[in-house]
Amino acid sequence: MNSPAVDPHVLTPVMARVIQTHAMTARERFFRLRLPRPLKHRPGQFVMASIPGIGEAPISISCGPRDDTQLELLVRSVGSLTRVMHRLRAGDQLGIRGPFGSGFDLAEFEGRDVILVAGGLGLAPLRSLIEPILAEPDRFGRVTLISGCRTPAEELYREQMLAWQGGHAQVIRLVNDTAHLPWDGEVGLVTAPITELEMDIPNTLAVLCGPPVMYKFVIMELAARGLPNAQIFLDLERRMRCGIGKCGHCQINHVTCCRQGPVFRFSELESLPEALT
């Protein structure tokens, strides 16, 4: 109980500075922040972002690991806090706690073919994994990104995906509906391209991030191709309040999502009720 590791700032954020921000879509806004000290995060981790007096919410880190003090977040306006966050401009401050969660172990991906499936805002956390993989393509096998959203107006990281496509990744961009807008990708669901992918099953890892409804159908497609559950990673969404495994909000049965997750192998979740629905 008198452990010297007790940090009195455990629930108190440090104040980061917004150094760049722009609207990416009507609902999502990009933020580049400068922290007082490097965050040293792993891909797939999250932070608790807050504005003092307004509130705090879990936000996935959307950039790869870095040694400097910068951090990128992509924030969808869904509630009062994120609405206020959307009004922040360069020079404003944002509270940050973390990083929290287990995240991905990059070493596990070495030499493997990687299929990443993103639904909507799910692309933001996956970007924290794609960036380090594509920064050292020789360390990894083939990289395929399947990214879907509802309409062309909701597409995220468009320029970056086009750049990845021109580089070392195969990128399949989809919309459910072109909504009469110009569109240079494909039309359909993220499940469709999986049936046609060339897959070296024993050497392939799949990583999924998107709304709960997406997981079920993508997993069915991957299972149909014979990919074992232990080779499928999911990044789950829960509304963490503390990030330190205490508040109870993200608990899925005996599993504390903010500590043991939010990244899980599907084999860890298949017999866990309430994990996906």
Binding site: M1, N2, S3, A5, V6, D7, P8, H9, V10, L11, T12, P13, M15, S50, I51, P52, G53, I54, G55, E56, A57, R76, V78, G79, T82, Q93, G95, P211, P212, E237, R238, R239, R241, C242, I244, G245, K246, C247, G248, H249, Q251, I252, N253, H254, R259, E274, T277
Partner: protein, 362 residues
Amino acid sequence: MRGFLATRSAVLDWLRALGRAGEVYFPQPFGDNSYRFDKIRRHSRLAFEDFDAGSKDKPFRASTCVQPPGKLLSPDNEQIFIFHKNAQGDYQLTPTLDDRRRILAGVRPCDLKAIHLMDRVNGDDIPDAHYLSRRRNTTIIAHDCLQPCDRHCFCEATGSLRWREGADIFLTPQPSARLLLEALTENGEALLADAGFPPCDDVDACKARAEQRRARPFGRHFDAALAQVIQTVGDNGDDSVWDKHVERCFGCGTCNLVCPTCYCFDLRDDFDIHNPDSGRRSRHWDGCMLEDFAEVAGGHNFRPQLAARQRHRIKRKLAWLPERFGDGSFCVGCGRCGHQCTVGIDIFDIANDLLASGKEDA
């Protein structure tokens, strides 16, 4: 460590004296028939339970306090940090740790075990500095029970009746309105050294005497041993038991509110209405029985059904947390949830029904 023997009234006088010098909490009557842990003040009515045969005082404080004493270690609306904007317009955040000295006296073994479990939870993994600061500065004077406090009690069944760990001083009722006072920590030793009570020359004999006077069996008992209960609740996949017990549940969260091992919370921000550039973040009790507890941004709810929330609550107490910490049941058998539930849903009955349904399956 040494023991002392004193009359109940001498111990109460001592607590009153401590209460004049500092912050001392003790169970006190509140309303017609309920009790709460409250600060000892000048006119506080204080009494220890009287376990002497034939005593007329017996009904006094014959029930647990509605709120367990451990809640004082993680109070609702606990301030986490304060903030203000400096002259440059930048936020300055200052965490607030409560390091006031206080004494919790008259803590029953069930509540003592619960505090021990909260020490484990808050000290585990990434420690909760706010809880630990308050806990480090709290002295606990616990009190043995020789009879169940009410018909809801099942503390012996959950393994908390003889719990002593976490107490600084432990009181054991003795005949002739006396109490054995034992120091269990250096802190307790120092406190008792100053009290001036006559020493007890045979602590073990006093404890054995109390054990002989203890009710047998003590309170309610499950239809199987605790290990079997924990096993069955962990295994259970039979939905009919959960469905049966939520038929009349309102999902009001009272069971969470009064449980000594419920610790879930939410964080909230407030700015000062007179100066919006300053304010605070605070921690508020939350409960897994409340409808929006497992809701995420955008409105998806991972436990929309009451039965799923009931199952979650019971499995936390009797399966998942016991398995994680290896410290026995997280239900300490205080009986509060069943006692306070508006419609009489009792974790004790749920556990027995699960045992019965497990037997049918076998």
